[in-house]
Amino acid sequence: MIGGITLAVITLLALLAPVLSPHDPYTQSLTTRLSKPFWHGEATGSHPLGKDHVGRDYLSRLLYGARISLLIGFCVALISGVIGTALGIVGGYFGGRVDMVITFIITLRLSIPFVLVAVAVVGIVGGSLKVVIIVLGLLLWNRFAVVMRSATQQIRNQDYIPAAQAVGCSTLRILLSEIMPNIMNSLVVVATLEMANAILLEAALSFLGLGVQPPTPSWGLMVSEGKDFLFFEPWLISIPGTALFLLVLAINLVGDGIRDVTAPENR
């Protein structure tokens, strides 16, 4: 519930970023760098969250950063969701050898330390928003696959599947109209989890300098840029960090909420 509201608020802010930001997030102003946010008492009215180390308005960067995080979370969840769900459904439905192959692929993917691989790939190919999305999308599908596979297996054993087969429905049709709707709620729950995951990972990548490149305002990047000023200007990292935390928390709460509504026994 609370998660839903928070998420909605953040999304709204992100969408309206260009309208709400008092300044262009990229404009630098080296003469007025590192001014403090309003709670330090020095606030200049037009820069309520102060400025970063090269004089960019922090509030604007924060708002634009929201767009990046949400964009990444959504796209990655989409890509990995499609891959994982497809694999999971096929494996769960057909069973036998097909399933063995798919399980092997899943185990394979689980054995690869994805943080490392993501880091390596991005490091080699070069970091950018697109690359991050693609790499994460191609790596984060395993939970989708595992959950969809077991959900499909459970449904396959229900009576209405052989009934549909007896009537002559094509396999594709069964997959789409009988199985998909019934695993939808698991799908949504996993999607929220992976979305949150993706956001955190992108932040970590950007923090390491391997994700989104400056001057794009990714929250992770902002933390990384701010860490050199850790001791005297801690707000440079606490603000984007808190933002990340709240966003991920909100998404997790939404996911938990959906799960509680659709399958309360899984708590």
């Binding site: 490392l116 990292i237 708590r267």
Partner: protein, 305 residues
């Protein structure tokens, strides 16, 4: 049990092979390793030379087999950057990461398991809610941020702990907390759910009917069965920690494998990168294998047939 073990072993080997091939292939994602080594000023002749020296002109499967062959003997070639054998570099870094990971998982277990047990015995009590709250928080926190905040609090405001380096045990406290914190939600939830389910089972009722006291019922009967999935999850979490170490080690400037990986990637030091990925993957595979075997051993239904 024997068949179970053999099956798991075979699977682990197969996976290792494929992973090694993949990590080897990672190298060829960028356009040309030889020119990457040579740098921008290299001429074509230089590049051709480099190719020869590093054996990059041979067919790819030969390169792969040579690499695997050497890897089995713990020889991963020379680091482009350090000009030292990769194995030598790893020998100093690997123990650091392993110690960190191990302390982190112990830290996580020591706190999450009791918390999970108590939460299961008294559902919806304040302990239960606190535990749930902590686990929700834990899942949402970016690791690097937590690390940095801890540094601010524990090194700057109250100078209790050193912010970076690896001189002594104090240096490991904060990284352990940060790294371990992320495994706690999963372990706690699993313990709680497992215990709650087990406590409603018939054999617990039988134990009560025999007049056993709650301590004995809880630990001898309930926990013994509920802990089985927690064991495998813990092994898997340990594997995740190895992956997460890359961030933590960077934040706390710890000279471990994670930091090594990051440095090498930044410098396009491919042999090191390949070696690190392979080593981590193998550790993870071995851990999963051990977890599976432990799982089988703990459950008499699998162990004795």
């Amino acid at each position: 049990m024997l068949i179970y073990t053999l099956k798991r072993l075979a699977l682990a080997l197969a996976v290792t092979l494929v992973v090694s091939a993949l990590s080897f292939g990672l190298l060829y994602l960028s356009s040309d390793p030889a020119s990457a080594i040579g740098g921008e000023a290299a001429t074509d002749a230089d590049i051709a030379n480099i190719r020869k020296i590093y054996g990059l002109d041979r067919p790819i499967h030969i390169q792969y087999l040579t690499w695997i062959g050497k890897a089995l003997q713990w020889d991963f070639g020379m680091s482009y950057y350090f000009r030292l054998p990769v194995s030598q570099i790893m020998a100093t870094r690997l123990p650091v990461t392993l110690i960190l990971g191990f302390s982190a998982i112990v830290f996580a277990l020591v706190f999450s398991i009791p918390l999970g047990i108590i939460a299961a015995i008294r559902p919806n009590s304040w302990i239960d809610r606190t535990a749930l709250f902590l686990s929700v928080m834990g899942q949402a926190m970016p690791s690097f941020w937590l690390g940095l905040m801890l540094i601010v609090v524990l090194s700057v405001w109250l100078p209790l702990l050193p912010p970076s380096g690896t001189e002594g045990w104090e240096y490991f406290v904060m990284p352990t907390i940060v790294l371990g914190y992320f495994a706690m939600p999963a372990i706690m939830r699993l313990t709680r759910a497992g215990m709650m389910e087990v406590l409603t089972s018939d054999y617990i009722r039988t134990a009560r009917a025999k007049g056993l006291l709650s301590g004995s019922i809880l630990f001898k009967h309930a926990l013994r069965n509920a802990i089985i999935p927690v064991v495998s999850v813990s092994a898997v979490q340990f594997g995740f920690m190895l992956g997460g170490s890359i961030v933590i080690e960077t934040v706390f400037a710890i000279q471990g494998m994670g930091y090594l990986a990051w440095e090498s990637i930044k410098r396009s030091d491919f042999p090191t990168v390949q070696a690190v990925i392979l080593v981590f993957a193998v550790i993870y595979i071995v851990l999963t294998l051990l977890a599976d075997l432990l799982n089988g051993w703990l459950d008499p239904r699998i162990r004795v047939t």
